[in-house]
């Protein structure tokens, strides 16, 4: 079909549109960077002394907790960005211009692809800033450049998965308010994992859940790639989760986009 011949150029056009939105209205981006930075500082300087002592070992304390916390905070950054994506997608779907796109001979996937690629770029930006702050307050990765590249790759993959999911979530609602609340469960899920405290300290039922939910293998893999802790089969499980979430999010979002607009 004529429309499908232009998937790439149409997606690039839509990406330009989304990047221009972000550039012109940076408050959402700043919010997405601000939340993880504030939580990082809060956890390290307010809770860090006590939590670090609980991690055991001799060096103990704040620095030890900082090292433990960073992978979780990086993932929190990805989750916060996903929340921003859901909000901007929900806002966009209420705009008349999307109805116009539907009556034009353009690749149908391009509207969604533009959002996803734009959001992943935005997330990468946020991750760089958060990592910069972590380094500034004393975080020191112990592994080599190759492992860092692998960590960046895993974060990109996670971002892709959560972004497709939030694009679908953003489209599934009719109001921006609902969309902004939907990805809250991602935040909650993060705290019910190994991001902030080791799962061994949790009661049995909760511990089982924490160890088998998608964020924990991703965090454990990141921790291994940045600090040299054992990864085991977490890496494979993490990549599998990312692939599965991406696929579900993609298929769901596409179906929602094909759906007829609401009758007004």
């Amino acid at each position: 079909m004529t429309a499908n011949a232009h998937v790439l150029s149409d997606s690039a056009t839509m990406l330009r549109r989304n990047l221009r939105h972000m550039q012109r209205y940076p408050s959402l981006t700043l919010f997405m960077i601000g939340i993880p930075v504030v939580l990082l500082l809060l956890f390290v300087f307010v809770f860090g002394g006590t939590l670090g002592a609980g991690l055991g070992g001799v060096s103990g304390g704040r620095d030890r907790y900082l090292a433990y916390l960073v992978p979780g905070i990086l993932l929190l950054t990805v989750a916060t960005a996903a929340q921003g994506t859901a909000i901007s997608v929900a806002m966009d779907m209420t705009e008349g211009i999307v109805a116009r796109f539907r009556t034009m001979a353009i690749s149908r996937a391009s509207v969604l692809t533009g959002h996803v690629v734009g959001s992943v770029i935005q997330t990468a930006l946020a991750l760089v800033v958060v990592m910069g702050v972590a380094l500034l307050i004393g975080f020191r990765p112990t592994t080599g450049p190759l492992a860092w590249v692998a960590a960046a790759g895993l974060l990109a993959l996670t971002s892709l998965a959560l972004t497709w999911l939030s694009v679908a979530l953003g489209m599934s609602t009719r109001s921006v308010e609902t969309a902004s609340n939907l990805p809250m469960f991602l935040m909650l899920l993060l705290f019910l994992g190994s991001g902030f405290v080791p799962t061994q300290t949790m009661p049995d039922g909760l511990r089982w859940f924490a160890e088998n939910q998608p964020f924990t293998p991703i965090i454990e893999t990141l921790r291994g790639l940045l600090l040299g802790t054992p990864i085991g089969d977490s890496g494979v499980i993490a990549v599998a989760w990312c692939g599965a979430i991406s696929l579900v999010g993609f298929l769901w979002a596409r179906r929602l986009y094909e759906r007829e607009p609401a009758h007004r």
């Binding site: 004529t2 056009t13 549109r17 008349g96 211009i97 109805a99 796109f101 009556t103 001979a105």
Partner: protein, 318 residues
């Protein structure tokens, strides 16, 4: 005119659409010849927007066949989309971009190429008197300017068939006239226009053919003149200073109805200049003194009253 040779730009047969138990379109047949203006006239809730949405591939019909520019809307929606432009009731502009960026966005999506896209954007900004504000975000523009940009965006790809859903609703009289002129210019270039409106006057001024939609059915279809013949209610109201003059006039126009209380006579008339002149000539000839004169032309209320037996009670509700 070779109306028989050219295939219709839009052909619909037996179009049906329901939302739940609410029947919105109940078997609509339409044939719009190429290069003409076709007006779909009706009150709010008649199904005008739903019709435009189906013809422009935005939603699917429950039944019936639709061909636009020779393409079936179900089997080849992209073929339809490549030929049409749509300006809906709600501003289809990107409020976060500038006017110029909006037009370039459309040019990019029509794959016009960078230089041609910019040239086309500049040309349309000039044509719609938007050059001054072109570099400001559209969210800071007035409603009328956004409407003009909306139409300009529709024209970027030079569509052969354009759908205008209530293009002048909420516009001030000057913007309305500008919009009418744009429509006339487009038709002169051979473009087919399908427009919906609540205003008989608008349909009358622009359209070659008018279809009247009410509760999901076409209750009348024809040229504006044909339609107006179906509509009684147009008259000239003559007012007199005294009863004697009125009696003389009543003998002159036996078909007139009289309003004795206010010494007025209602003479049936289409309100046109020719009819008025002949009426005044007759009065002059019979040396009848007329105190006041006013013309009442049929409006949408009359159309609906006579075609459907109920008044258009919802007019102006939105």
């Amino acid at each position: 005119m070779s109306a028989t040779a050219a295939p219709p730009a839009i052909h619909a047969a037996g179009l049906r659409k329901s939302y739940g138990t609410q029947v919105v379109l109940d078997g609509i047949d339409l044939d719009v010849p190429e290069g003409t203006v076709y007006a779909l006239l009706g009150p709010n809730g008649a199904g005008k927007t739903t019709t435009v949405h189906i013809l422009s591939t935005l939603i699917a019909a429950d039944g019936g066949r639709v061909e636009v520019a020779g393409h079936d809307v179900d089997r080849d929606p992209d073929g339809v989309r490549a030929a049409i432009g749509v300006t809906g009731q709600f501003s289809a502009v990107d409020r976060f971009l500038t006017g110029e960026e909006n037009l370039v966005l459309m040019a990019d999506l029509r794959h016009l190429g960078r230089a041609e896209g910019r040239r086309r954007a500049a040309e349309l900004l000039a044509r719609f008197d938007l050059v001054e504000a072109a570099r400001n975000p559209v969210s800071t523009w007035s409603g009328g300017m956004q409407r003009r940009l909306d139409l300009a965006m529709t024209l970027v790809g030079d569509p052969r068939i354009i759908f205008l859903d209530e293009p002048t609703a909420g516009l001030d009289p000057r913007s309305r006239r500008t919009m009418w002129q744009v429509v006339r210019d487009l038709v002169n270039d051979g473009v087919t226009i399908f427009l919906t409106t609540q205003y008989l006057e608008e349909a009358d001024r622009l359209a070659g053919r008018i279809a009247v939609l009410d509760h999901g059915r076409l209750v009348a279809e024809g040229t504006p003149a044909e339609l107006k013949r179906l509509v009684p209610g147009g008259h000239v109201r003559l007012e007199f200073a005294d009863n004697g003059e009125m009696e003389k006039a009543a003998r002159l126009f036996p078909g007139a109805s009289r309003d004795d209380e206010s010494l007025a006579l209602l003479v049936p008339s289409d309100g046109g200049v020719g009819a008025l002149r002949s009426l005044l000539d007759q009065l002059e000839h019979a040396s009848i003194d007329v105190d006041g004169l006013s013309v009442r032309t049929p409006d949408l209320d009359d159309v609906f009253l006579s075609l459907t037996g109920h008044a258009d009670t919802e007019k102006g509700a939105a």
